[in-house]
Protein backbone atom coordinates (compact mmCIF):
# COMPACT_ATOMS: atom_id res chain seq x y z
CA UNK A 1 0.00 0.00 0.00
CA UNK A 2 1.44 3.37 -0.91
CA UNK A 3 0.09 6.73 -1.90
CA UNK A 4 1.00 6.24 -5.54
CA UNK A 5 -1.66 3.62 -5.94
CA UNK A 6 -4.81 4.81 -7.60
CA UNK A 7 -7.80 5.24 -5.39
CA UNK A 8 -10.71 3.34 -6.82
CA UNK A 9 -13.96 5.20 -6.94
CA UNK A 10 -15.72 2.16 -5.58
CA UNK A 11 -17.47 1.58 -8.88
CA UNK A 12 -17.52 -1.93 -10.25
CA UNK A 13 -17.57 -1.23 -13.95
CA UNK A 14 -16.74 -4.15 -16.24
CA UNK A 15 -13.41 -2.59 -17.24
CA UNK A 16 -12.22 -2.36 -13.67
CA UNK A 17 -13.24 -5.95 -12.92
CA UNK A 18 -11.44 -7.12 -16.05
CA UNK A 19 -8.24 -5.44 -14.91
CA UNK A 20 -8.44 -6.82 -11.37
CA UNK A 21 -8.75 -10.43 -12.49
CA UNK A 22 -6.47 -10.16 -15.51
CA UNK A 23 -9.43 -10.98 -17.70
CA UNK A 24 -10.28 -14.23 -15.98
CA UNK A 25 -13.78 -15.04 -14.86
CA UNK A 26 -15.01 -17.00 -11.90
CA UNK A 27 -16.32 -19.76 -14.09
CA UNK A 28 -12.86 -20.65 -15.40
CA UNK A 29 -11.20 -20.67 -12.00
CA UNK A 30 -10.86 -24.19 -10.71
CA UNK A 31 -12.14 -23.75 -7.22
CA UNK A 32 -14.50 -25.07 -4.64
CA UNK A 33 -15.13 -21.78 -2.91
CA UNK A 34 -18.67 -21.34 -1.67
CA UNK A 35 -20.39 -18.11 -0.65
CA UNK A 36 -19.92 -19.19 2.96
CA UNK A 37 -16.43 -20.66 2.75
CA UNK A 38 -14.52 -18.93 5.56
CA UNK A 39 -11.23 -17.36 4.57
CA UNK A 40 -8.39 -16.73 7.02
CA UNK A 41 -5.14 -14.93 6.21
CA UNK A 42 -1.87 -16.68 7.03
CA UNK A 43 -0.04 -13.38 7.49
CA UNK A 44 -0.38 -9.67 6.86
CA UNK A 45 -0.37 -8.01 3.44
CA UNK A 46 2.99 -7.94 1.64
CA UNK A 47 4.42 -4.93 -0.17
CA UNK A 48 3.79 -5.10 -3.88
CA UNK A 49 0.59 -7.07 -3.57
CA UNK A 50 -2.27 -6.10 -5.84
CA UNK A 51 -4.41 -3.63 -3.80
CA UNK A 52 -7.48 -5.86 -3.83
CA UNK A 53 -5.50 -8.89 -2.73
CA UNK A 54 -3.78 -6.89 -0.01
CA UNK A 55 -7.22 -5.73 1.17
CA UNK A 56 -8.46 -9.31 1.33
CA UNK A 57 -5.44 -10.39 3.37
CA UNK A 58 -5.92 -7.43 5.69
CA UNK A 59 -9.63 -7.97 6.40
CA UNK A 60 -9.19 -11.74 6.74
CA UNK A 61 -6.95 -11.58 9.78
CA UNK A 62 -10.05 -13.07 11.43
CA UNK A 63 -12.29 -15.55 9.58
CA UNK A 64 -14.55 -13.96 6.97
CA UNK A 65 -16.87 -15.57 4.43
CA UNK A 66 -16.42 -15.16 0.69
CA UNK A 67 -19.75 -13.27 0.60
CA UNK A 68 -18.55 -10.83 3.27
CA UNK A 69 -15.27 -10.23 1.44
CA UNK A 70 -17.29 -9.47 -1.69
CA UNK A 71 -19.50 -7.02 0.20
CA UNK A 72 -16.67 -5.23 2.01
CA UNK A 73 -14.62 -4.84 -1.18
CA UNK A 74 -17.64 -4.00 -3.35
CA UNK A 75 -16.55 -6.65 -5.82
CA UNK A 76 -18.70 -9.41 -7.30
CA UNK A 77 -18.28 -12.85 -5.75
CA UNK A 78 -17.08 -14.15 -9.11
CA UNK A 79 -14.18 -11.67 -9.03
CA UNK A 80 -13.38 -12.30 -5.38
CA UNK A 81 -13.26 -16.02 -6.13
CA UNK A 82 -10.55 -15.48 -8.75
CA UNK A 83 -8.51 -13.32 -6.36
CA UNK A 84 -8.91 -15.87 -3.57
CA UNK A 85 -7.85 -18.76 -5.78
CA UNK A 86 -4.57 -16.97 -6.40
CA UNK A 87 -4.11 -16.13 -2.72
CA UNK A 88 -4.77 -19.75 -1.76
CA UNK A 89 -2.34 -21.00 -4.41
CA UNK A 90 0.27 -18.55 -3.08
CA UNK A 91 -0.34 -19.74 0.49
CA UNK A 92 -1.41 -16.25 1.62
CA UNK A 93 -4.80 -17.37 2.92
CA UNK A 94 -6.46 -20.65 3.69
CA UNK A 95 -10.07 -21.68 3.49
CA UNK A 96 -12.42 -23.42 5.89
CA UNK A 97 -15.01 -25.13 3.72
CA UNK A 98 -18.69 -25.07 4.69
CA UNK A 99 -20.40 -28.17 5.98
CA UNK A 100 -20.43 -30.42 2.89
CA UNK A 101 -23.86 -30.91 1.25
CA UNK A 102 -23.35 -34.66 1.34
CA UNK A 103 -23.60 -34.54 5.13
CA UNK A 104 -26.93 -32.70 5.07
CA UNK A 105 -29.40 -32.96 6.61
CA UNK A 106 -27.24 -33.64 9.63
CA UNK A 107 -29.37 -33.92 12.72
CA UNK A 108 -26.62 -32.89 15.14
CA UNK A 109 -25.97 -29.81 13.06
CA UNK A 110 -29.67 -28.89 12.91
CA UNK A 111 -29.90 -29.29 16.69
CA UNK A 112 -26.86 -27.06 17.15
CA UNK A 113 -28.53 -24.38 15.02
CA UNK A 114 -31.77 -24.70 17.03
CA UNK A 115 -29.80 -24.27 20.27
CA UNK A 116 -28.09 -21.21 18.84
CA UNK A 117 -31.33 -19.64 17.64
CA UNK A 118 -32.96 -20.19 20.99
CA UNK A 119 -30.33 -17.96 22.55
CA UNK A 120 -31.20 -15.05 20.28
Amino acid sequence: MNSDEPHWDGGGGPERLYVITGGRSGSSAKTTLDLVTLIVARSGPRPGMQPEQAAIVRICQRPLSVAEISAHLSLPVSVVTVLLSDLIADNRVFSRPPVPPAKLPDIALIEAVIDGLQKL
Binding site: H7, L64, S65, S78, R96, P101
Partner: protein, 211 residues
Protein backbone atom coordinates in the same frame (compact mmCIF):
# COMPACT_ATOMS: atom_id res chain seq x y z
CA UNK B 1 -1.32 3.20 7.49
CA UNK B 2 0.46 6.53 6.96
CA UNK B 3 -2.10 7.58 4.43
CA UNK B 4 -5.20 6.73 6.36
CA UNK B 5 -6.39 10.31 6.41
CA UNK B 6 -6.28 10.54 2.63
CA UNK B 7 -8.45 7.51 2.10
CA UNK B 8 -11.82 7.97 0.55
CA UNK B 9 -14.72 5.83 1.73
CA UNK B 10 -14.72 3.92 -1.53
CA UNK B 11 -11.05 3.00 -1.52
CA UNK B 12 -9.85 -0.54 -1.17
CA UNK B 13 -7.98 0.40 2.00
CA UNK B 14 -11.04 1.38 4.03
CA UNK B 15 -13.08 -1.73 3.29
CA UNK B 16 -13.47 -4.15 6.11
CA UNK B 17 -15.65 -5.29 8.96
CA UNK B 18 -15.84 -3.33 12.18
CA UNK B 19 -13.71 -4.98 14.84
CA UNK B 20 -16.76 -5.88 16.91
CA UNK B 21 -18.16 -7.70 13.87
CA UNK B 22 -15.16 -10.00 13.56
CA UNK B 23 -15.81 -13.71 13.92
CA UNK B 24 -13.85 -15.57 16.58
CA UNK B 25 -10.74 -17.39 15.41
CA UNK B 26 -12.54 -20.59 16.43
CA UNK B 27 -15.16 -20.20 13.70
CA UNK B 28 -14.52 -23.28 11.61
CA UNK B 29 -17.61 -23.92 9.51
CA UNK B 30 -20.52 -22.04 8.08
CA UNK B 31 -23.95 -23.00 6.86
CA UNK B 32 -26.48 -20.99 4.89
CA UNK B 33 -30.19 -20.47 4.63
CA UNK B 34 -31.71 -18.70 1.64
CA UNK B 35 -34.62 -16.29 2.04
CA UNK B 36 -36.51 -16.17 -1.26
CA UNK B 37 -39.25 -13.78 -2.17
CA UNK B 38 -40.50 -11.14 -4.54
CA UNK B 39 -39.38 -7.53 -4.61
CA UNK B 40 -40.41 -5.62 -1.49
CA UNK B 41 -41.66 -8.65 0.40
CA UNK B 42 -39.33 -7.97 3.31
CA UNK B 43 -36.35 -10.25 2.74
CA UNK B 44 -33.81 -7.67 3.82
CA UNK B 45 -36.00 -6.67 6.77
CA UNK B 46 -36.10 -10.27 7.96
CA UNK B 47 -32.36 -10.74 7.46
CA UNK B 48 -31.64 -7.45 9.22
CA UNK B 49 -33.85 -8.17 12.21
CA UNK B 50 -32.02 -11.39 13.16
CA UNK B 51 -28.55 -10.67 11.84
CA UNK B 52 -25.75 -9.87 14.31
CA UNK B 53 -24.16 -7.63 11.69
CA UNK B 54 -25.73 -4.84 9.67
CA UNK B 55 -26.91 -6.57 6.48
CA UNK B 56 -24.29 -6.55 3.76
CA UNK B 57 -24.79 -6.48 0.03
CA UNK B 58 -23.02 -8.50 -2.59
CA UNK B 59 -23.56 -7.72 -6.23
CA UNK B 60 -23.14 -9.67 -9.40
CA UNK B 61 -23.20 -8.30 -12.89
CA UNK B 62 -25.51 -9.96 -15.33
CA UNK B 63 -24.69 -9.58 -18.98
CA UNK B 64 -27.68 -9.87 -21.20
CA UNK B 65 -26.51 -10.67 -24.66
CA UNK B 66 -28.40 -9.00 -27.44
CA UNK B 67 -29.24 -10.55 -30.78
CA UNK B 68 -26.30 -11.74 -32.89
CA UNK B 69 -23.71 -12.30 -30.17
CA UNK B 70 -21.52 -14.26 -32.53
CA UNK B 71 -20.66 -11.33 -34.71
CA UNK B 72 -18.78 -8.36 -33.35
CA UNK B 73 -21.65 -6.04 -34.15
CA UNK B 74 -23.56 -7.71 -31.33
CA UNK B 75 -21.11 -6.55 -28.68
CA UNK B 76 -22.66 -3.11 -28.43
CA UNK B 77 -26.01 -4.65 -27.79
CA UNK B 78 -24.95 -6.42 -24.64
CA UNK B 79 -26.35 -4.72 -21.59
CA UNK B 80 -25.20 -5.28 -18.06
CA UNK B 81 -27.48 -5.30 -15.06
CA UNK B 82 -26.29 -5.34 -11.51
CA UNK B 83 -28.25 -7.60 -9.22
CA UNK B 84 -27.83 -7.25 -5.48
CA UNK B 85 -28.26 -9.81 -2.75
CA UNK B 86 -28.43 -8.78 0.90
CA UNK B 87 -27.22 -11.10 3.59
CA UNK B 88 -26.67 -11.31 7.31
CA UNK B 89 -24.98 -13.52 9.85
CA UNK B 90 -25.78 -15.31 13.10
CA UNK B 91 -23.05 -16.93 15.19
CA UNK B 92 -24.60 -20.19 16.33
CA UNK B 93 -21.76 -21.11 18.65
CA UNK B 94 -17.98 -20.66 18.78
CA UNK B 95 -17.45 -22.89 15.76
CA UNK B 96 -20.59 -22.62 13.66
CA UNK B 97 -21.84 -19.59 11.74
CA UNK B 98 -25.19 -19.28 9.97
CA UNK B 99 -25.48 -16.97 6.97
CA UNK B 100 -28.83 -15.75 5.67
CA UNK B 101 -29.07 -14.75 2.02
CA UNK B 102 -32.04 -12.84 0.70
CA UNK B 103 -32.42 -13.52 -2.99
CA UNK B 104 -34.92 -12.33 -5.60
CA UNK B 105 -37.61 -14.81 -6.52
CA UNK B 106 -36.70 -15.00 -10.19
CA UNK B 107 -34.72 -18.11 -10.90
CA UNK B 108 -32.51 -16.41 -13.49
CA UNK B 109 -30.91 -14.45 -10.65
CA UNK B 110 -30.11 -17.57 -8.65
CA UNK B 111 -27.49 -18.61 -11.19
CA UNK B 112 -25.59 -15.37 -10.65
CA UNK B 113 -24.37 -16.69 -7.33
CA UNK B 114 -23.19 -20.13 -8.20
CA UNK B 115 -23.95 -22.63 -5.51
CA UNK B 116 -26.40 -20.39 -3.69
CA UNK B 117 -28.69 -23.32 -2.96
CA UNK B 118 -26.00 -25.97 -3.09
CA UNK B 119 -25.27 -26.95 0.46
CA UNK B 120 -27.92 -24.63 1.84
CA UNK B 121 -29.67 -26.09 4.87
CA UNK B 122 -32.95 -24.94 3.39
CA UNK B 123 -34.96 -21.95 2.32
CA UNK B 124 -37.64 -19.63 3.60
CA UNK B 125 -40.19 -18.50 1.02
CA UNK B 126 -41.32 -15.09 2.22
CA UNK B 127 -44.82 -14.32 1.02
CA UNK B 128 -46.86 -11.14 0.69
CA UNK B 129 -50.57 -11.99 0.53
CA UNK B 130 -51.10 -9.08 -1.86
CA UNK B 131 -48.83 -10.74 -4.41
CA UNK B 132 -49.23 -14.45 -3.92
CA UNK B 133 -48.61 -15.22 -7.59
CA UNK B 134 -44.91 -14.38 -7.22
CA UNK B 135 -44.56 -17.32 -4.84
CA UNK B 136 -45.94 -20.04 -7.12
CA UNK B 137 -42.90 -20.08 -9.34
CA UNK B 138 -40.47 -19.91 -6.40
CA UNK B 139 -42.10 -22.86 -4.68
CA UNK B 140 -42.07 -24.91 -7.87
CA UNK B 141 -38.38 -24.20 -8.47
CA UNK B 142 -37.40 -25.14 -4.93
CA UNK B 143 -39.33 -28.39 -5.19
CA UNK B 144 -37.55 -29.16 -8.48
CA UNK B 145 -34.22 -28.63 -6.77
CA UNK B 146 -35.21 -30.65 -3.70
CA UNK B 147 -34.42 -27.69 -1.47
CA UNK B 148 -36.40 -28.07 1.78
CA UNK B 149 -38.34 -24.93 2.60
CA UNK B 150 -40.95 -23.37 4.85
CA UNK B 151 -43.35 -20.61 3.87
CA UNK B 152 -43.48 -17.46 5.99
CA UNK B 153 -46.30 -14.99 5.44
CA UNK B 154 -45.04 -11.51 6.22
CA UNK B 155 -47.91 -9.64 7.84
CA UNK B 156 -48.08 -6.19 6.32
CA UNK B 157 -50.57 -3.90 8.08
CA UNK B 158 -52.52 -3.18 4.90
CA UNK B 159 -52.38 -6.70 3.46
CA UNK B 160 -55.47 -8.89 3.55
CA UNK B 161 -55.27 -11.58 6.22
CA UNK B 162 -56.23 -15.12 5.30
CA UNK B 163 -56.34 -18.24 7.41
CA UNK B 164 -53.09 -20.18 6.91
CA UNK B 165 -55.02 -23.22 5.67
CA UNK B 166 -56.55 -21.12 2.95
CA UNK B 167 -53.11 -19.83 1.94
CA UNK B 168 -51.75 -23.37 1.96
CA UNK B 169 -54.49 -24.32 -0.49
CA UNK B 170 -53.92 -21.25 -2.63
CA UNK B 171 -50.20 -21.98 -2.83
CA UNK B 172 -50.82 -25.69 -3.40
CA UNK B 173 -48.36 -26.53 -0.62
CA UNK B 174 -47.68 -30.15 0.28
CA UNK B 175 -49.24 -31.08 3.63
CA UNK B 176 -45.90 -31.50 5.40
CA UNK B 177 -44.45 -28.10 4.42
CA UNK B 178 -44.84 -25.70 7.36
CA UNK B 179 -46.48 -22.34 6.79
CA UNK B 180 -46.12 -19.66 9.46
CA UNK B 181 -47.04 -16.02 9.92
CA UNK B 182 -44.39 -13.50 10.82
CA UNK B 183 -43.58 -9.86 11.24
CA UNK B 184 -40.21 -9.59 9.56
CA UNK B 185 -39.46 -6.38 11.45
CA UNK B 186 -39.34 -8.23 14.75
CA UNK B 187 -36.27 -10.14 15.78
CA UNK B 188 -38.18 -12.81 17.71
CA UNK B 189 -40.68 -13.30 14.91
CA UNK B 190 -37.94 -13.70 12.30
CA UNK B 191 -36.06 -15.96 14.66
CA UNK B 192 -39.20 -18.13 14.93
CA UNK B 193 -39.37 -18.41 11.14
CA UNK B 194 -35.83 -19.81 11.11
CA UNK B 195 -36.76 -22.04 14.01
CA UNK B 196 -39.74 -23.38 12.03
CA UNK B 197 -37.37 -24.23 9.18
CA UNK B 198 -34.96 -25.98 11.55
CA UNK B 199 -37.74 -27.99 13.20
CA UNK B 200 -38.92 -29.04 9.76
CA UNK B 201 -35.37 -30.04 8.77
CA UNK B 202 -35.16 -31.97 12.00
CA UNK B 203 -38.24 -34.03 11.09
CA UNK B 204 -36.85 -34.57 7.58
CA UNK B 205 -33.53 -35.74 9.00
CA UNK B 206 -35.26 -38.17 11.34
CA UNK B 207 -37.36 -39.50 8.46
CA UNK B 208 -34.26 -39.90 6.29
CA UNK B 209 -32.31 -41.68 8.99
CA UNK B 210 -35.23 -44.00 9.73
CA UNK B 211 -35.72 -45.03 6.11
Amino acid sequence: MDFRSSESPGSVETAGPRSEDALPESATAAVKVVIVGGFGVGKTTLVGSVSEIRPLTTEETMTQAGVGVDDTAGVERKSTTTVAMDFGRISINDELVLYLFGTPGQERFWFLWRGLFEGALGAVVLVDTRRLEVSFDVIGRLEERSVPFVVAVNSFPDAPSYPLDELRGALDLPADVPIVECDARLRTSSRDVLMALMRYLQTLAVTTEAS
